[in-house]
Amino acid sequence: MTTTYTVDDPVKGRIEYSDRKRYLWMSSLFMPLFPMLGIALYYLFDSQWMLVLPLVFSYCVIPVLDYVIGSDTDNPPEEIVPQLDEDRYYRILTWLTVPMHFIVLIGIAWFVGTQDLTLWSVLALAITAGSYSGLGINTAHELGHKKPAFERLLAKVVLAVPAYGHFCIEHNRGHHKDVATPEDPASSRMGESIYKFVLREIPGAFRRGWDVEKERLSRQGRSVWSVHNDILQSYAISAVLQGGLIIAFGWIMVPFLAIHNFWAWYQLTSANYIEHYGLLRAREASGRYERCQPYHSWNANYIFSNIVLFHLERHSDHHANPTRRYQSLRNFEGLPELPNGYYGMYVLAYIPWLWYKVMDKRLLELPHINGDLGKVNIDPDRREEILRRYGKGQGEALAV
């Protein structure tokens, strides 16, 4: 049972394509089983240790699976993309994941609120729930970039689970416009650790999202404190959901939800950290930055984590064509390439010295940079140190 797309191209003749991952994408529907697995095993083995297994899966097993299973050779031809984009099967899968995010958070909250657990177990469950809600931000990312109003509405709804309602506005209008420039709070700089980045990224993203929405509403002649504010609408759903959980399951929900929310946001921070590390768009004579090019994003083409993340790792094509649907995103040779999938790279980013050791060399060896530090987005606090270390005596000229 395969669906084959064909197109008669005037130059290339007949092009045929069938998507080998078509049914693998259904796994997004089974993803909630992972956070719930720990709870099931807890009952089966009567051990709180089982509650950490979903975290072990995300941060240890997925990187290994990416390494073992390797790269994805499947790549839809550009000529097929319009047909593949129109195939409704794929978008329905993203719609169906939205309610799952509510079910999982409520399910885990119920478990925390009703069982006698150690503090460590509550912490593990809050982080597990947070990492699954981080995937909810990824689902919102896919939906929020699409043109149909219904999908944008779903994005707003699913963002309510981790209380991150400003994300889609900030991301689409802010990050995509300013990506790979020093002005972008969601693009990390060479020499900037993730622990420093998070303090710039989370508040910066909030401010930019709020400002963009305020501007839109003011053009409509409305105040930012209006029911038409998309961010406030999403926050209102968060207040009902999370307030309801506190009323239902008591004060334990306050630290649980705080850790859950933070961890979901931090998953996004982690993705932002690795997606554009050190990459810099050149400034044109007009003062405007050059258009975002494919070499302004780090890519990973590992089959396993790409299935988990709706092809987010095919990131260059996403920035070139932000409204293109996940199933149609393409891989290209010769782009900045990460040595493992996103989950493995998150873990690497959490150990800054190891991250620098692996990534700084890779960054400077990119063909368009070729050791030229003038073409790198560098943390200003570490600029001199980095120029001394990698500048090979050309530091003066480069310190513009």
Binding site: K147, R173, H176, K177, Q220, A320, N321, P322, T323
Partner: protein, 55 residues
């Protein structure tokens, strides 16, 4: 009135309809949009990138 099209994603600005959600009322000429206007759908094409689709 004219229509202008984003060459990246196909978003079309129709001067007749404006873009009410974005705060541009019906009848707003394309030329009257702010200079830092970006495509409301993809946000990676600027005002000067837009092409005249229908005069």
């Amino acid at each position: 009135m004219a229509k202008y099209r984003c060459p990246g994603c196909g978003y079309t600005y129709n001067e007749n309809d404006g873009d009410v959600r974005e705060g541009y009322p019906p009848g707003t000429p394309f030329a009257a949009l702010p200079e830092d206007f970006v495509c409301p759908d993809c946000a990676v094409r600027y005002k000067e990138d837009f092409e005249l689709a229908e005069a």
